[in-house]
């Protein structure tokens, strides 16, 4: 066994895992080849030296703090990064009879834009029920409340509150914009008088989801992605299971069978918005 061949067996011999025949050949080389003997001797000392490195190293006293800070920063940055994707740009303002709308949280940053938002669909409030309209690609929530009322927009997927508006006056209207790529589903809740509404708003990019299986909520998101229109549902049970196959060009027709089996129906509103309600 020459030096090059012997090198292949240094590790196995050092660990005692070389089989008998090779071990004998290797030991013969060790005894008779001075180069092998010298080099293997160095190899062993280096391996032994490596093991000496396992002595405990002093751990910095602030290591735990540093880890915690890094993890916390990650969590915070993640929530900051993901918030905009949920954010429905809630830009309330008053019209008609002067109303007072106190804006909380993220909405506060929009207060300087009061009155500067486009006027599409903001001409009147026909009923006291909340209305969602879809005009020129903009989804607008309108409602009128004689009594103080709190409107909250909650992301259904994780229950996070996106915006809260205290409407203590008569009427408010707010464009709702989804800045994420895919459709998002929110629950619009009112502190009194009005039923909650579920609203799926298309995202910034087209995402075809023609077939699927999941909950009614999933189906609403898929419809919004597929047909690029807002989908509103009055049902309080958007978690009931369903399947869908959007094989028609019209969203209402495509969803009628699935919704029918859930005891629901869909109707087309202005701009193509789909409103789902009980039969």
């Amino acid at each position: 066994m020459n030096l090059n061949r012997a090198r292949d067996f240094y590790s196995a011999y050092y660990e005692g895992s070389l089989d008998q025949g090779l071990r004998q050949a290797f030991e013969h080389a060790l005894s008779n080849e001075s180069e092998v003997s010298a080099e293997y001797g160095q190899f062993v000392r280096i391996m032994d030296e490596l093991r000496r490195l396992d002595r405990p190293v002093e751990v910095p006293s602030d290591l735990h703090l540093k880890i915690r800070e890094r993890v916390d920063a990650h969590i915070n940055s993640k929530s900051r990064k993901t918030s905009p994707s949920w954010l429905f740009a809630w830009k309330p303002f008053t019209y008609g009879v002067v109303a007072t709308a106190a804006i909380i949280g993220v909405v506060a940053s929009f207060s300087s834009n009061r009155g500067s938002i486009g006027t599409a669909g903001l001409i009147d409030v026909p009923t006291s029920d909340p209305v969602i309209e879809f005009n020129d690609g903009t989804t607008v929530l309108k409602f009128q409340s004689a009594a103080p009322n709190t409107v909250s927009v909650t992301r259904v997927e994780d229950g996070s509150i996106i915006a809260t508006v205290q409407a203590g006056g008569k009427r408010i209207a707010s464009p709702l914009t989804n800045s994420s790529e895919g459709a998002e589903l929110v629950r619009i809740g009112f502190s009194s008088n009005f039923r909650p509404l579920y609203l799926a708003v298309p995202g910034t990019k087209a995402k075809a989801q023609p077939e699927g299986k999941g909950t009614l909520a999933d189906m609403m998101v898929a419809m919004a992605d597929q047909y690029r229109v807002p989908i509103v549902c009055e049902s309080t049970d958007v978690l009931q299971p369903t399947e869908w196959n959007f094989d028609q060009a019209d969203a209402v027709q495509a969803s009628s069978d699935e919704l029918g089996s859930l005891g629901m129906k869909a109707a087309a509103h202005n701009g193509g918005l789909v409103w789902i309600s009980s039969k």
């Binding site: 093991r51 290591l63 890094r70 993890v71 990650h74």
Partner: protein, 194 residues
């Protein structure tokens, strides 16, 4: 259910105290490994902190196919590889700088008071030479050597941590050992018997 399994399950459910306990349990071991790869306190701390961020992010997908400790080694190794990759991309640091050895730390760690001054000097020189040679090795070989020889991981554990078949671990480890020996040829007198 093991302590780790319970802590992981609680952490997966969002229990920050459980995750904190998990960090406390493994941070020292993680630091030892990172320090032996980098020989630099700041880099080692950064690697460990980054690794626990990655653990936090990926914990929901951890299914316990391997032990948490083994999984952590894998993440630490990846953090180390990423750190070196970033450095290479920046091209700001020389190879010598990346092998930064704090001489006083090395001496403080490895001095054995039972030896005389000459033995201490000689052993310290050997250990420093090994550390420096490790620092010159390809990162993967370096990690493998440290895992096996210093962290005392088994072939099976290294196989899981690096996602390599055991046979590959063995053959690569042999190559790494020979490469280490080659790197130490200039210091051969330190490792010659007699």
């Amino acid at each position: 259910m093991t302590d780790d399994a319970l802590l992981i399950e609680l952490s997966q459910k969002g229990d920050r105290n459980a995750f904190d306990t998990l960090i406390r349990k493994y941070e020292a071991r993680a630091y030892q490994y990172a320090y032996r790869l980098t020989s630099n306190q700041d880099e080692a701390s950064d690697i460990v902190a980054d690794a626990f961020v990655r653990v936090y992010s990926a914990l929901k997908n951890f299914r316990g196919q391997s032990a948490f400790g083994t999984w952590l080694y894998r993440i630490l190794t990846n953090c180390y590889l990423d750190l070196r990759k970033k450095e290479r991309n920046r091209r700001h640091e020389s190879l010598e700088a990346t092998m930064n050895i704090d001489g006083s730390d090395v001496q403080r760690q490895f001095a054995d008071e039972s030896d005389g001054p000459e033995e201490i000097i000689e052993r310290t020189a050997r250990e420093t030479a090994v550390q420096e040679a490790l620092g010159k090795m390809p990162e993967y070989q370096q990690a493998m050597l440290v895992m096996y020889h210093v962290e005392n991981l088994t072939y099976e554990e290294i196989s899981e941590a690096l996602d390599l078949p055991i046979g590959t671990v063995k053959s690569r480890l042999n190559r790494a050992r020979l490469a280490l020996r080659d790197l130490l040829t200039s210091n051969v007198e330190l490792f010659t018997l007699g």
